[in-house]
Symmetry: none
Subunit: 399 residues, 2 copies
DNA sequence: TATAGTATTGAATCCGAGC
DNA sequence: CGCTCGGATTCAATACTAT
């Protein structure tokens, strides 16, 4: 839902404690007017000019106060700002939400084209993360261990002796004791996410547009499915789109008619591919496209873009015709995937087709597969089957 | 030179405009006493406990004012702090040096060992960079282009057409014109420098010791050889050591006798850790090929480095024990791979082992596999087998 | 000497005991 | 109930040892 109104006016009409998370990216105090032309030559701009900083800060502060009111007690607020006025904005947050509710200073870093000026190239923006109370909702995202870490070592339990020296814990027989299952490294407050590429598909031609991955991270760590996400300065609506793509309810507000038009247009058909996080769980924090690419790479494929039925072709031909490859999407049943690949493969006159099955769905095992199609379970499924069997056998043989 | 005195007292004795650069790393307002023991059991500590924030800020402010006085007009000041009080400190800098002399908010990021907490793991500190005037000294450091940059493209001159779009400049014959030699990418304000490791030789046992690399960067960009570098809260003297190592004159001041002792000791033989990580980069720790990484990724593995028998562990335990994964190397026969995995897996008490077979070698198919090991062909082999069979069957049925 | 494998260590954080 | 204090846990990155 996107509303065209001064957010202050709309907020006043909202109920107390009705929102789970707020992301706001207010106009920066740049004293300049931001303009940008899109591919069609339309020009967008927004007034980002204030008579004084006090005026600017007052403008923000009354809105932040209202935002606190509509936020649930378990809720969080993320304020995105640039280095120009970040310290003043944080003072406001300290005052309104209380210093004790400061959670993190998130640094979004990116590499950018240099316009070599004197000084260091600015390559980051700051997002302040405050919660309303200390009973805030938080989902930890676990990331990979550093390559410098010796994983096999930390899988062993350890003790410290009286002098504080560490040693491996051993049982009576002198054998090492295993540690509990490891979850990975909790995510840091420094996020390296590429700056919205000038050619990116998701770009809709609005200034200061943020990458969707940034918003998805914020949404994941602070909300669950079905929660309400509010963006009072929504601009082109990235936060609302990210919320909808991840089954949260998004409310966007913007005073600019043009912005609301763009956001609404975007919401009508949010690119599925825009969503970069795996739906299967926060633990497996990986980009879907990365996994798909990895599989296609292993198979020695040319990658096909924008084809619902085919993700790639084997570089090698068989019977003088290409072999199409498709990887089952999380949203597709095996049956649907087979049908999509079959249609697309026949159209391209493939001699054979390969479907990589990524879901272990017994109900679908009995569907008919075309004669020239090979269905292969991905490694995870193969292994799960074999592991279950193997461990079961081991139990039996132990009797 | 290191002086043991309250820096305010010493600064008052210093001449106007006598210093080229100031780095200060004052107490962070942690409201804790920072302590650390060195290898010999000596304990060092400094108090960072205040009656109020106002008291803390006043303490800093009078000193910052004096610092401005002793700084040359071409000089710069770098204030190191963490997120606890950074916004207040920046207000002081704005007030004393003027907002117009704000140059950069430098983010020092690092990975760090830590227990997991609710929320994001803090992985950065902030250094505010202000200059005394706009005629400040600055040496640009150029860094390497990122591997994704298309070097040959940026070597072509560009023009903007009437609509403001960029295009490659061409000569009469329509050939592209080469741009002037590129120097690299100017350094960003986000610096990834490893945190001083517990095992680093550079460590002298003083709390909050900073890596020399960090100080060297600051010194490079803001001073020339022979310039005077002042650190009014020098602690173990990292800034002074870095200055001396780079032929600048370093002046360190600290109120703690012990700190000054350590700093002086360090200055007798200034030493910079030969950090392998810094020298060779994180990439050199990543020993897996792209395909290997892709497989481990798909299997949801933690990646294991420097282990001949194991490439990764499944993140999930089976039977309360880890499952080891190995990918057959091109140089290994299946037999050898099985043996290596078996030995390593048993040592780590794995409940099961998985070997991904990457070579289609019939001779090896008859070797014996341990009961708790699963051998799976990689996709390529599976597909090749099935394709051959399929296409053969199709031929037969065509007859 | 190069590589594989093992032993340490700091300090942020949580948790539970004691008051 | 809120405070402090001690103990346990965590992992990045080194040094050291064995082969």
């Amino acid at each position: 839902m996107v509303i065209c109104e001064d957010c202050l006016d709309f907020l006043k009409k909202m109920d107390n404690k009705s929102v789970d998370m707020i992301y706001l990216d207010p106009p920066f105090f740049t004293q300049k007017t931001q303009t940008l032309k899109d591919a069609q030559g339309n020009e967008y701009s927004f007034g980002d000019v204030w008579n004084s900083r006090t005026e600017y800060l007052d403008y923000i502060k009354v809105r932040v106060c209202e935002l606190k009111r509509v936020l649930k007690d378990t809720g969080s607020i993320f304020l995105h700002c640039d280095e120009k006025a970040s310290h003043y904005l944080r003072l406001i947050l300290d005052e309104v939400f209380g210093e004790e509710n400061f959670r993190s200073e998130i640094i979004w870093t990116y590499k950018r084209w240099s316009n070599s000026k004197k000084g260091l190239l600015s390559g980051h923006q700051t997002i302040f993360f405050y919660s309303k109370t200390n009973k805030y909702k938080f989902n930890t995202i676990y990331t990979a261990y550093s390559p410098t870490t010796n994983i096999d070592q930390i899988l062993q339990e350890r003790v410290r002796d009286d002098r504080g020296k560490a040693a491996y814990k051993c049982d009576d027989k002198g054998e090492v004791i295993l540690a509990k299952e490891k979850k990975g490294v909790p995510m840091s407050d420094v996020w390296e996410i590429p700056f919205l590429n000038p050619k990116a598909k998701e770009r809709v031609g609005y200034p200061t547009q943020k990458p969707i991955e940034l918003l998805e991270r914020i949404i994941y760590i602070s909300t669950d499915e079905g929660d309400v996400v509010l963006d009072p300065f929504c601009g082109s609506g990235t936060a609302v789109v990210a919320a909808e793509l991840n089954n949260r309810k998004g409310i966007g507000i913007d005073i600019s008619k043009k912005a609301v038009e763009i956001a609404e247009e975007r919401l009508k058909k949010p690119y599925k591919t825009e969503s970069k996080l795996l739906k299967t769980g926060i633990e497996s924090y990986k980009t879907k496209s990365a996994v798909e690419n990895a599989i296609l790479n292993q198979l020695d494929c040319d990658v096909v873009q924008r084809n619902k039925g085919i993700d790639g072709f084997l570089k090698k031909y068989y019977k003088n015709a290409p072999v199409a490859v498709k990887i089952q999407k999380a949203s597709e049943s095996l049956c649907e995937a087979v049908e999509l690949l079959k249609t697309a493969g026949e159209k391209k006159k493939c001699s054979a087709m390969i479907l990589i099955c990524t879901k272990d769905d017994d109900l679908n095992r009995h569907i008919s597969i075309p004669k020239n199609m090979i269905v292969i379970d991905d490694y995870k499924i193969q292994i799960e089957h074999e592991l279950t069997e193997l461990l079961c056998n081991l139990c039996v043989s132990n009797l």
